[in-house]
């Protein structure tokens, strides 16, 4: 019996818990077996058909899926009208960039293109044994329905998914797999289906991120993205502030550039989709979603929102404190109200709603996390102040009662979950960068294990929303650029959290199962008694390149766990910022690297207290003997990196020459002092701060 703080997001896919993955020593579904279920055995392999394959979505997804299906000999058949612009060939250069010329040629050779007249399927299609149709044709309901009928008639039993976000599945008569972005890079797909299907499991097994959402007019992403665009438009129409400047403020406070995003996607199509989404939502939910005159105008004209290059803006705008507060009411108010609707209608797991905002709608913090930070009363007040500005929105679709549950685990553990079987637990982190929200949730998860009497713990990703661990969210460092106390606070508090993994469990195992584990996340996991990784993961401490001084004890913890001979490797890692392969880091940075199955199994053996054959590398608590910095390094990329190297060397020297207790504050002080230096301010974080916050 597995107990958890909240439902694992993996369970929403019908894939069980994360703890079961470790217990079983394998993933809940292997790509080979699910491909066989969907496309048939190798000797009778069927194909994936993408209709509308030359469109922006069709071509993007043909590449995303084609590159993943090609190793399994599953052909991708793209069908489209004759004479439409070739969208697939345009993707070739991108493929070359990612897979090299040979790989790109191989993938392209597996994409078969056939013409389709809209009424009859190409005769040749039958030869490829279509098993799965991904429909990406224009947003006209009758045409779509006829299209499905045609396929069902010709290929009985075929799995059909529509990429639409403009119609509920109940209207279409098929289930939906809506890619968050049309291009091939973003991995998120919103899935609408009554129960998790093989197609959803297939997407997951191929390394994509399917997220189940409920069957409504426009799903979570469109509500959030079109919603924030609408909020920005209402502000524009009241104050005249130009779109580009509103974008800067929305980016500062929320994260996205809604207008720039429309232009980047292609205003002609994106404007229509935004209008369509808002139009349908307003029919269902009232004035909160009513498209404004400017959306209607741009839906017709397809005009960009930003001025043309020769009319780059001349007159700047700014907001005083009072105006800023009103701005937030115009933007956050409707966003929070829309989120109340999503929650009221239970449109998805809270972590999903939150993640869709962050991973697809460019929110700095997901909308649920944002409301949680704001608190229930202030969230409600913010919406009410919006209603004073725009009373029509108050008439419908406002559910303040949903915020009464803000103290419950679904709200409180958006990024970090914990599961246990009575003796061994797993902490899963579903955010790719570490921030103060993750830190708080991690502390709550540790507290929960203590309350549950769990002494053995695994710390890892969530096998779903987080596919890698890229380090600290540097936006959390912005306050530390101005005040050294802030830097000390962040560094100390995060380090104390990390130490809990070492100090408060009998056995703790960090497990790296994604593509990479860098910076703050590597520092966090190295605090575990054991650190295990899949062999092809890349590990690194890129702080010196930003530049910052690692703040979560990276400058002394790993030295305390290794012998003198390996110190140069750690120094190089810290001072060059280059990544190493997990299998090359065994013995000095991590304890084991192996295949996915092997590594899962060894993690479970350690965590469950079974015989595993690995020696525990203890942390030396006394001051270390003197560290030699006489090593040959690659030349620094820039003067800032050179300064950071010296600061890191100083930090290593001071933090290692004191005992473990004092090392934490020594490390934090160095890290914080570097953060307020000109070198840091001129570096990536300082530049980012200026770009995002100094508007």
């Amino acid at each position: 019996m597995i107990k958890s703080m909240r439902q694992s997001t993996l369970q929403t896919l019908g894939l069980g818990t994360v703890l079961e993955i470790f217990k079983n020593g394998k993933l809940p579904v292997e790509s080979g077996e699910i491909i066989e279920q969907v496309f048939g055995r190798p000797d009778e392999r069927g194909c994936l058909v993408i209709s509308g394959a030359n469109g922006i979505v069709g071509a993007g997804k043909a590449m995303q899926l084609g590159s993943r299906l090609e190793p399994f000999n599953v052909p991708v058949v793209g069908i489209d009208f004759p004479g439409v612009p070739d969208g697939i060939n345009r993707k070739y250069q991108g493929l070359v960039g990612t897979f090299g010329k040979k790989g790109a040629d191989r993938i392209m050779a597996n994409v078969i293109r056939l013409s389709y007249d809209g009424g009859n399927l190409p005769k040749k299609l039958k030869e490829f044994k279509p098993r799965f149709l991904l429909e990406a044709i224009p947003e006209i309901l009758d045409i779509k329905k006829n299209h499905y009928e045609l396929f069902r008639k010709n290929f009985p039993g075929i799995e059909i998914r529509s990429v639409t976000s403009g119609f509920p599945g109940s209207e279409l008569g098929v289930t939906i797999a809506h890619p968050a972005f049309p291009h091939e890079i973003n991995k998120i797909w919103e899935i609408v289906e009554p129960e998790p299907s093989d197609i959803t499991k297939l997407l997951w097994a191929l390394g994509l991120v399917p997220i189940p959402v409920s069957d409504n007019w426009s799903f979570v992403l469109d509500v959030l993205f079109c919603g924030i665009t609408l909020a920005a438009l209402r502000y524009h129409e009241t104050t005249n502030m130009p779109f580009w400047k509103i974008d800067k403020y929305v980016r500062k406070f929320i994260g996205p550039n809604p207008f720039r995003a429309h232009d980047a996607i292609g205003a002609a199509g994106a404007n229509f989709l935004t209008w369509s989404c808002l139009h349908h939502l307003s029919n269902a939910y009232g004035q909160l979603f009513e498209p404004t005159a400017y959306v209607v105008e741009r839906k017709e004209s397809g005009q960009n929102w930003y001025p043309l290059n020769h009319f780059r803006p001349l007159v700047n705008w700014s907001l005083n404190d009072k105006e800023q507060d009103e701005f937030l009411s115009w933007i956050q108010g409707p966003l929070f109200q829309m989120a109340s609707l999503l929650l009221y209608e239970r449109r998805s797991h809270l972590s999903h709603i939150n993640a869709i905002g962050e991973l697809c709608a460019q929110f700095t913090n997901g909308v649920i996390a944002d409301m949680r930070r704001t608190g229930p009363n202030s969230t409600i007040k913010r919406v009410e102040s919006y209603h004073k500005l725009y009373p029509e929105a108050a008439k419908a679709s406002w559910f303040p009662d949903v915020f009464e549950k803000m103290d419950e685990p679904d709200w409180q553990q958006l990024y970090v979950n914990a599961e246990h079987d009575g003796s061994t637990g797993v902490i899963t982190i579903g955010r790719e960068s570490y921030n103060s929200d993750v830190d708080s949730e991690l502390n709550r998860a540790i507290d929960w294990f203590h309350a549950e009497g769990i002494k053995n713990v695994i710390v890892t990703g969530d096998f779903h929303l987080s596919t890698q661990m890229v380090g600290a969210d540097t936006r959390d460092f912005f306050p530390a650029l101005k005040r050294v106390e802030e830097g000390i606070r962040i560094s100390s508090s995060w380090s104390k959290t990390a130490r809990r993994l070492h100090d408060e469990f009998k056995v703790s195992v960090g497990y790296i199962n994604g593509k990479r584990c860098l910076g703050g996340f590597l520092e966090l996991l190295m605090h575990c008694h054991y650190l295990i990784s899949v062999e092809d993961a890349r590990l690194g401490m890129p702080e010196v390149t930003l530049p910052v001084v690692p703040g979560m004890e990276g400058c002394h913890w790993s030295f305390r766990k290794t012998n003198n001979e390996n110190r140069d490797k750690i120094l190089k890692l810290l001072l060059e910022g280059e990544q190493v392969s997990a299998k090359d880091a065994v013995g000095w940075l991590i304890d084991y690297a192996g295949s996915l199955t092997d590594s899962l199994q060894i993690v479970w053996k350690i965590a469950a207290g079974k015989d595993h054959g690995l020696l525990k590398r203890d942390v030396k608590e006394d001051a270390l003997n003197e560290i030699s910095f006489d090593i040959k390094l690659q030349p620094a990329d820039n003067p800032g990196m050179e300064v950071a190297r010296n600061a890191i060397i100083e930090t290593i020297r001071d933090a290692c020459s004191t005992d473990l207790v004092n090392a934490l504050s020594t490390q934090a002080k160095h890290s914080a002092e570097f953060m307020i230096s000109d070198t840091c301010k001129k570096g990536r974080i300082g530049t980012e701060f200026k770009r995002l916050m100094d508007v």
Binding site: N240, M241, F311
Partner: protein
Amino acid sequence: MKGKETMFPKARIPYGTWGSSYFPAWQTSALAEVNIGQFAGEAMNKILGMRKVPKSELEYLIIGSTIPWHWKFWNAPLVASCLGERIPGYHIEQACATGLQAILLAASEIEGGSYNVVSVLTFDRTSDSPVGVFPERRTYRRTEVLADVWDNFGFDPATGNSMIKTAGISARKYKIDREEVDDITFHRYQQYYDTKNSGWFENILVPFDVLNNQGRFLGRIDDDNGVRQISRSTLREMRELDTCITPGSQTHASDGMATLLVTGVEEAKALSLQSEIGIQFVGKLEVRTLPSLMPEAPALAVKKLLNRTGLTMNDMAVVKNHNPFAVNDAIFAKVLDYDWHKMNTTGSSLVWGHPQGPTLTRIVIEALEEAVSLGGGYALVFGCAAGDVGIAAILKVTDEGSAK
């Protein structure tokens, strides 16, 4: 027009929906670096935002400028695009009378019933004014090259005289005393600085941060650059360029924009910052005087306008003019038998400079704001323009709320 009637009964200026940039002297600010049409459009949008007027309220745009600017062919629709609203409109130009004429034309558009909200936007950049090249095969030189601002100031093709020459000729005609001209100049500076120090201009003049092509700060337009404290003795010591005309007693070229709205009666109430205040058009008149007597033309226009309307100078609560030369005020005082101390109480274009197109718009705005602060009354606005033309208009400011 006779008998204190209004010439455009359907037209109003909604109180407070106006604004102007500061007018930095030419080549002293970031405005010297920009497309002034684009700047004006964006600045107007910001002014409307500050005045709580959504730009979507605008139906029509009349732009006024005198100096060619990049893409001027595309006219008011382009400027409207720069302010973010796709509305039609046209461009008008009448040299230094442009700013007032544009407002009057907006009122006539309202009166004609075509629109209910017409926006007026005037602007000019004297800095780096363009040079025109004109092939003229009949002439000896075959190709004429003309620097738009300076060559035009220096030569009226109809008379062969410069602007400054017309001031000298007029001063001689009216036997104006140099000392009086210096006194007028000094007094205008005092009026300007008293007003500036009181903070009164902040109701009208809006500071703007100008960005470069990378979106970085290029410069802040927050002062009438080029205006300096001047003493009576300094004025006295200045060399005469023509009779009574010194560098101190004439205006200077500058850059800037100014905007206001003209609307129907109901729209004025809805958009006004104080709906009880009514602003109407009483009358307007232009005269063209004898060759090279430009500074007397406004006085003649005012005289004729008063005659037509049945009003007198004593009826005027506010009197303001565009006075490129202090001589203009001396002549006006003589012709109208009016104490020049009583006019231009917030300073004038003699002091704060002359960007041409928007000059009289700013003067109208200052006049209306002053009339409101006085509790209402008639505002007389006038000025001279190239071609020995004078233009004058009377506006009436009332507190309609209290009248009820």
